[in-house]
């Protein structure tokens, strides 16, 4: 057993690590590729499955809740798969991913919001 990774060797530790990392990555993918599990229309309290554009005269559409649901579902599945791996494989998952991934995703998120960075 790789002693450095002993923290992740428990099934829950492995699930939590893979869930957190995959949740972050899937969330950014869902945001950039417009993949919400559902769309919420706050003006009318309507919920539609998947990505739906705002309806005329019904106000804006919100995708944030749907992105969270999509990424939580995907990350939950991947975390469960990772937790089912044998211990020798679980030991090989670097713990540093937990903080490196959010740091790496920051410039991607800034780029995804480029619409807002207007200097006018």
């Amino acid at each position: 057993m790789n002693e450095d990774n002993a923290t992740a060797t428990s099934r829950f530790g492995c699930f939590a690590l893979v869930f957190g990392v995959c949740f972050a990555i899937l969330y950014v993918i869902c945001d950039m590729a417009a993949l919400p599990l559902f769309t919420y229309h706050p003006g009318t309290d309507r919920i539609d499955a998947g990505f739906v554009r705002p309806r005329p005269d019904e106000g804006p559409a919100m995708y944030w809740y749907g992105w969270i649901a999509s990424s939580a579902l995907g990350a939950g599945l991947l975390g469960a798969l990772a937790a089912a791996l044998p211990q020798t494989l679980r030991d090989k998952i670097p713990l540093a991913l937990a903080w490196v991934v959010p740091v790496v995703l920051l410039p991607v998120l800034l780029y995804s919001l480029k619409f807002y960075w207007r200097w006018e």
């Binding site: 923290t7 957190g20 809740y65 713990l95 959010p102």
Partner: protein, 167 residues
């Protein structure tokens, strides 16, 4: 919820929720800042020393559970308020042309969501990290979460200043 509006106005209700969200954020900010200071600059002497020494002398593990609970509660309230924000706050700010303010707020939502997903592993590390790699991951994950919390707090404060309560 409608029975509440027999006693308070709709604006008062959302103002109370916004203030509760802000108070939870203050508590979370304090807990995470103490914890981040404790892992970045561990204090050697607990009884002696001044304010800074005592500030970083907290027991990190004791804060981990509270941080998770506060993050989740602040997130739930923020997510609830977000639907109203989308109509009654964001649209007027768009009309004013404060796009960088909106972008900063969108980034806050993204970062706090990513932080939410990392809480189970953060809690696990504080509960059971016993190795050098585990302690390193715990240290830097705590610092990242503290940085997200500071960013979210300041951005929320700015957006609140732009739009104000009860408008």
């Amino acid at each position: 919820m409608d029975f509440l509006f027999d006693y308070i106005s709709v604006n008062t209700f959302w103002t109370i929720l916004s203030i509760a969200h802000a108070l939870l954020a203050v508590a979370l900010l304090g807990a995470l800042t103490h914890q981040a200071a404790a892992v970045l600059m561990p204090a050697r002497a607990r009884s002696d020393g001044g304010f800074v020494t005592h500030f970083r002398s907290v027991s990190g593990p004791r804060y981990a559970g509270a941080v998770c609970v506060l993050w989740v509660l602040a997130f739930i309230l923020g997510g609830w308020i977000y639907a109203k924000y989308r109509i009654y706050v964001r649209i007027p700010i768009e009309q004013e042309g404060f796009f960088k303010t909106l972008g900063a707020f969108e980034l806050k939502e993204h970062l706090t969501t990513i932080g939410l997903g990392l809480l189970p592993f953060y809690r696990h590390l504080w509960k059971s990290a016993r190795t050098a790699a585990g302690e390193r991951a715990r240290k830097w994950l705590t610092v990242v979460l503290a940085a997200i919390c500071w960013y979210a707090f300041l951005t929320g404060h700015v957006v609140n200043n732009v739009r104000g309560f009860g408008l």
